[in-house]
Symmetry: C2
Subunit: 338 residues, 2 copies
DNA sequence: CTGAAAGCGCTTACAG
DNA sequence: CTGAAAGCGCTTACAG
């Protein structure tokens, strides 16, 4: 690879001068600047980012650890994160935890070793000593979507409580009384919050959420399938739920797989709703009623917060809200989003 | 950040020794090794990957530039690439071109500046002087899925010709005679190949593919919507296609949006099929007939080829084949995959 | 078995 | 306005 030395000798100047023109330092005479630029062009020289970062102690790079790349919600989040970061002059390196705390820590470690300027994470599990340590060591960090208790960093998330209440009211209105949920890992905040909101809302209608109606999932499709099978296998039909709320879109996919495999129909045999709205939900049979998050907004706000921290400014936590999008999977004809 | 010097002084050895134990160099006495390791643990020391890479001239990192993160095909590809790379001791940095050649080049440049050991790309556009130059300069590189003519690097892709022929035969058998395609950019190989295969197959049935039945798309959803609107707006109903083949899943999504917006029904009013199979196609209304690629296999083979190049071994191009998965979107009841 | 030293490719305070 | 030199955090050939 051609280095700054090659450019310097070709332009007949010192490497210091080359460095200055590359960094737009004002104190360089126009004609020497021109000579340097010409040499750069002729040699096709590109500065070595590693060397530069080593020297300046900044990489202008953000790390993003997402829970699962195969989940359209996170993929859209990643997209908005990258867009906003690029607009602000940063690049981002993505790590996919695949919902595994170990893999998540692997990525956090790798990212830290690369000396990224800041870390954005949507934690896959519960506590992570590694991340706690990093936060305490002063690594600029912010949580998106999910967060870890006891780690004191800003959180950018959506509060789905209201939307979940709306969903439960919607189900109740349509006559459903035996509501069930397929939840994410209790160790994740979104996992526990969504069940709690669901349970609270159910109570408001004088109903209960029995333990058998809480299917333990892990936010991935297979677990949605298994939990649904469990519900449908309950011996006494009167115990079986008449509606399922999947706490994310992938588990809803799994639920649909299982329901279809048994020749059952949504919503006639069982109602289905999901947290996270995705474009495909419009075209499924039937269209799925879902809770939509302002995903792009979330990603952009998270990046801004992180860059604030990186550049030494304070950054507040931010909470946006979700909304229920009624379609046909709980019964009744298609309504308009409220 | 704590550096190798801190570890050295704490352990009472030189930095050279610390470096040796970190790199598992055999010639270190067990007890000094222990002392060093203890110091590393006490300080929570993590080597600076930038410094190491600068010195060793290798990053053990691969760059992957994909055409569109929002496309489930690429997201699955990225997932398998990352998995295989990690298994082989490499990490990967992903860049999302969003189907824009400029953005693609931006990422290639950034990746090159970071001195990644090798580059995996699924080119968004036609020729890229930047990539041609990099290839000529000896940067280990391989193309996945799509490739660029005239750039001499291994290509790992799937050949969809046979599957497209099967699809056309399937459509013909069901009585469709006015077949149309929504294609990707002609500058991309998958864009041009899929139309060609489609056209050739149509000819075999004594039919033709008139220019008005070729909708120009860009592999993203909106373009699928527009192309479909165009087809449906043709003044003379006898000119309107009776079936649409979308060259990727996102354009199929757009087509469904448009068809549904007009109150039309698949397959009764118009048949629909797509290149790339995704889990949602099982649950759409109706389930979509699609051409499935062995995506994971593609990603893994691409990584192996790239690492072969990186480590100085020759790497062959590899071509896998696709298969038609018949569902109900072209008419007729659900068949089994052939 | 271990250390001193050179050097990877940059940036930047210090002189001039 | 420009250059010589130090130094970022590592690795590794060379001595001992």
């Amino acid at each position: 690879m051609t280095s700054i030395k090659d450019v310097a000798s070709r332009a007949g100047v010192s490497v210091a001068t080359v460095s200055r023109v590359l960094n737009d330092h004002p104190s360089v005479r126009q004609d020497t600047r021109d000579r340097v630029l010409a040499a750069v062009a002729e040699l096709g020289y590109r500065p070595n980012a590693l060397a530069r970062s080593l020297r300046t102690d900044q990489t202008r790079t953000l790390g993003l650890v997402i829970s699962d790349v195969l989940n359209p919600f996170f993929t859209e989040l990643a997209r908005s994160v990258e867009d906003e970061a690029r607009a602000l002059g940063y690049s981002v390196i993505i790590g996919n935890a695949d919902e595994q705390p170990d893999l998540q820590d692997h990525h956090v470690r790798t990212l830290l070793d690369r000396r990224i300027d800041g870390l954005l994470v949507s934690p896959a599990g519960g506590g992570s000593p590694l991340m706690l340590e990093a936060a305490q060591a002063g690594v600029p960090m912010v949580f998106v979507d999910r967060w870890i208790q006891g780690v004191d960093v800003p959180v950018v998330r959506t509060d789905g409580r209201e939307a979940v209440r709306d969903l439960v009211a919607h189900l109740y209105r349509l006559g459903h009384r035996r509501l069930a949920i397929i939840t994410g890992p209790a160790a994740t905040t979104t996992g526990s919050e969504r069940v709690e909101a669901f349970r609270d809302a159910i109570r408001e209608h004088g109903l209960t959420l029995p333990p058998e109606h809480i299917g333990q999932g892990d936010f991935q499709a297979d677990s949605g399938r298994r939990a649904t099978a469990h519900f449908l296998d309950m011996p006494d039909p009167r115990d079986r739920p008449d509606s399922i709320f999947a706490a994310d879109n992938l588990m809803a996919l799994g639920a649909m797989d299982e329901i279809r495999a048994r020749g059952l129909k949504v919503p006639d045999d069982i109602a289905l709703a999901a947290f996270d709205d995705i474009p495909w939900f419009v075209h499924t049979d039937p269209p799925i009623t879902a809770i939509a998050q302002p995903t792009g907004e979330l990603g952009r706000a998270a990046v801004r917060a992180l860059i604030d921290r990186v550049e030494g400014r304070p950054a507040p936590s931010v909470t946006v809200s979700a909304r229920l999008v009624v379609r046909r999977s709980c019964g009744e004809s298609e309504g308009k989003p409220r």
